[in-house]
């Protein structure tokens, strides 16, 4: 008896078994009989969950795949029992997080080519500036409302909707990402004109 069990293990029958379900899902995750009963109330529409209609962005699709459960788990009306108001609040947040990215060009004085970044990925200025620092291998100095960026010859700027070149960090983040058309990391003497301490 033991011999045959060992033999089966070596064959790795489990991996080659034909089953319904995504690869990687285990037997224990299958529904119990009483749960299967709930299938009659399955909601076919999962699009509210993660904007499935808009699949153009690859990373967006990947994110959805991670969040959506394997098909074996049915979507049941009114379950889990959460008030619609709460669901609507969180749906709004989800939608905000998952709409397509906001790519802007970023140029750096002296660099041979430009880069593009997705502003939606960052939650605020600190994250954005850190990402720029990493990308272009420079340091941005300390920001203050009064003096702009102190302690570095590099200054992050952006072109807004009106075509003006603005210092990154002055306006609230939400306002920034909706008005920023592109960015430029200015260097050296040119940077001084933008309100840095003289």
């Amino acid at each position: 008896m033991e011999k045959s069990i060992k033999f089966e293990k070596d064959l790795n029958l489990e991996a080659t078994e034909l089953r319904l379900g995504l690869p990687g899902t285990k037997e224990s995750e299958k529904q119990t009989p009483s749960a299967i009963k709930s299938n009659k109330r399955v909601l076919p529409d999962m699009s509210e969950e993660c904007g499935y209609e808009d699949n153009s962005n690859v990373s967006h699709v990947k994110k959805c795949d991670q969040e959506v459960a394997p098909p074996a788990k049915a979507q049941v009306v009114g379950w889990p029992p959460v008030r619609s108001y709460r669901k609507n609040c969180f749906q709004a947040k989800k939608m905000e997080a998952e709409t397509t990215g906001m790519y802007v060009k970023v140029s750096m004085d002296g660099a041979p080519y430009l880069r593009k970044i997705d502003l939606k990925v960052y939650k605020g200025y600190p994250e954005l500036l850190k990402a720029l620092e990493d990308m272009f291998k420079f340091s941005v100095g300390k920001y203050s409302e009064r003096e702009g960026y102190n302690g570095s010859e590099f200054v992050p700027t952006y072109e807004d909707k009106d075509g003006d070149w603005m210092l990154v960090g002055d306006v609230p983040w939400d306002m920034f990402i909706s008005s920023c058309k592109r960015m430029r990391i200015m260097k050296g003497s040119e940077a001084r004109g933008l309100g840095c301490a003289v």
Binding site: A35, K37, A69, K73, P81, V82, E145, P172, F176
Partner: protein, 595 residues
């Protein structure tokens, strides 16, 4: 003996009897007490707006000043009741307005409220002081403008989780300059607000104790508002967001200083949007908090959340998202020794997500917080062993609502149903009044509930049970049962019809996706004229002439002293109306209803 006292003395004694139930009991003692009680009652609670008519309310309690009304059944919260089912407040407000009732307070839950009703309300009662709307819908900010403009002595406007259409008006600006009596204002469920009007309003209302802001109120505005209202006891922040380094922000520094002046805050909520690095500003408040609601603060998690919790040593009520995880719950257990109420909500409320809390977190809470008496816990899984441990650690539950993410999921360790676990809970918590079950459950758990849950008033059953016997255990055993709601469980006509008199002792029964048939419902309606048996059929069009054996998708029945409602939409069939011809209905039923 009491008959020899003049009415005024009785009335004075009854003044000390404040709970609705006690007053109801007082009114049943004798005709004299009934009379004195009814003229002196000021606060009336109507748990189902279709159980009684406004005219009868006014006739019996001419002195009513504060009214609470509830409309839709509880499962309407989870989209199980279609739009337009009912629950309109208009007839109530119109009837009260026509009468000489001096209404001062109105509290509505799950009702449909129109702008017109709010307008009539605002114009009809000169001393109107308090409006509380919970999970209501049907109105816009125009209705709010009417309340603001016309209720000159308004003390409280509390809007909790309502669906409100926002017009481009400035409703907050409609509060006149003479409005200085506000004590409580909550508009967190709105998206916009006129900040300048808000600041002026706060400035001229020095008695403001409770203020819950919405996401349109920025950090800067919050600081200015708190400067004007350091006396606040209850604060709901709006957008707690800063786009720059807090250490370099003048606004943030000012906020920190202002908050230090707010020594009375005991309840904190909001943080609809949040920059976690700003949280240190509220650390001084945490030390004295008794109620913390972070259930909408998706932006606070991980170490920031833990840091915050560690400061809240006096917490009695905590509402939190499941991103706190089991580890976070262990911190709660070691920090919040006075905790009485815990609610854990899903940060991903849509069906297919994963929940980061399990039985481990709950057991930790129960062993660290023995005073726990109210629980709402949404989790990934639960075991019998855990529930038995919880039952042992916390014998004082009044409310116990457990929701395991997967319907009918068994104990993952033993693969057994959770009957024993819930059985332990009902056996140990003798004062349990509300219970919601989930997970894989057989008739056995219902047997335990019927046997031990003597004080149980509300029970929610989903995907549970095996046969009619299960439902009967509950109906026969729970003498104090008022509300029973069941979905997706195999209970049918036999259980429904065994003891029809039981339903007159209850407020309501909801059964959806069960095995009750049209014939069974008809039989029940025929036997019990004082019950309104409603069948809600949106999709199928059952014809009454035949198909008695057809299963009913949704049934909602409730005791009532008025005719089946005349505002029922097409998809709601009130069986009583259809069972009798009009002539017979009037003669046959009138006497049994008025006796």
């Amino acid at each position: 003996m009491m008959n020899y006292f003049p009415d005024e003395v009785l009335e004075h004694v009854f003044d000390f009897v404040t709970s609705h139930r006690d007053r109801n009991a007082v009114s049943l003692v004798c005709k004299l007490w009934y009379r004195v009680e009814r003229f002196s009652r000021q606060r009336v609670f109507i748990g189902n707006c279709y159980a009684i008519s406004p005219e009868r309310l006014i006739a019996r309690f001419p002195g009513v000043k504060a009214l609470t009304l509830k409309g839709k059944p509880h499962f309407a919260d989870f989209n199980l009741v279609p739009q337009d089912w009912g629950g309109y407040v208009q007839p109530w407000i119109e009837a009260l307005a026509r009468s000489r009732i001096g209404l001062e307070e109105l509290r509505l839950k799950r009702m449909v409220v129109s702008d017109e009703s709010l307008d009539v309300l605002s114009r009809s009662f000169t001393n109107f002081k308090s409006l509380v709307l919970v999970s209501c819908e049907g109105f816009t900010t125009d209705g709010l403008a009417a309340i603001a403009a016309n209720c000159w002595f308004l003390r409280e406007l509390d809007l909790q989780e309502n669906e409100i259409e926002e017009k481009k008006n400035d409703w907050l600006g409609c509060f006149p300059d003479s409005c200085t009596s506000l004590v409580s204002l909550n508009f967190a469920c709105l998206k916009e607000v006129n900040l300048a009007a808000l600041e002026r309003l706060v400035a001229r209302n020095p008695n403001l104790k409770s203020l819950k802001l919405n996401g349109a109120v920025t950090l800067e505005a919050l600081q200015r508002i708190l400067m004007r209202a350091p006396q606040l006891v209850d604060l709901g922040t709006g957008s707690f967001v800063l786009d720059r380094d807090p250490n370099d922000s003048e606004t943030y520094k000012k906020l920190r200083a202002t908050i230090l002046q707010c020594r009375s805050i005991r309840n904190l909520s909001g943080f609809l949007k949040v920059t976690p690095r700003c949280l240190p500003a509220i650390y001084p408040i945490c030390l004295n908090l008794t109620y913390l609601n972070l259930s909408y603060a998706a932006g606070i998690h991980g170490s920031e959340l833990i840091k915050l919790i560690r400061l809240c040593g006096k917490l009695q009520r905590l509402w939190i998202l499941d991103c706190i995880e089991d580890k976070g719950l262990e911190v709660v257990a070691s920090t919040c020794k006075d905790l009485q109420e815990l609610r854990v909500f899903p940060s991903d409320p849509f069906g297919a997500g994963h929940t980061a809390v399990t039985e481990t977190g709950l057991v930790a809470i129960s062993s660290g917080c023995p005073k726990l008496n109210s629980l709402l816990y949404l989790c990934q899984q639960m075991t019998n062993a855990a529930l038995i441990a919880v039952a042992k650690n916390c014998p004082n539950f009044i409310r116990f609502r457990l929701c395991i993410r997967d319907p009918a999921k068994p104990d993952p360790v033993t693969m057994q149903p959770l009957d024993e676990g819930f059985g332990a809970i009902v056996q140990s918590s003798k004062r349990l009044r509300r219970l919601s079950l989930s997970g894989l459950l057989t008739d056995r758990v219902l047997l335990y509930i019927g046997k031990y849950a003597e004080q149980l008033e509300m029970l929610s059953i989903a995907f549970a049970g095996e046969s009619d016997k299960g439902m009967l255990y509950v109906l026969n055993g729970c003498k104090k049962l008022r509300k029973l709601e069941i979905r997706d469980s195999p209970f049918g006509d036999m259980a429904l019809l065994r003891d029809v008199g039981k339903y007159e002792t209850m407020r309501s029964l909801w059964m959806s996706s069960c095995d009750v048939t049209l014939g069974g419902c008809k039989t029940l309606a025929k036997k019990m004229p004082r019950l309104n048996v409603e069948i809600i059929n949106e999709n199928d069009q059952i014809k009454f002439a035949h198909e008695d054996s057809q299963k009913v998708e949704k049934m909602y029945l409730y005791r009532t002293l008025v005719w089946p409602r005349d505002d029922a939409p097409e998809f709601v069939w009130t069986l009583e109306k259809l069972l009798f011809t009009p002539g017979v209905l009037l003669e046959d039923q009138w006497s049994s209803l008025t006796n």
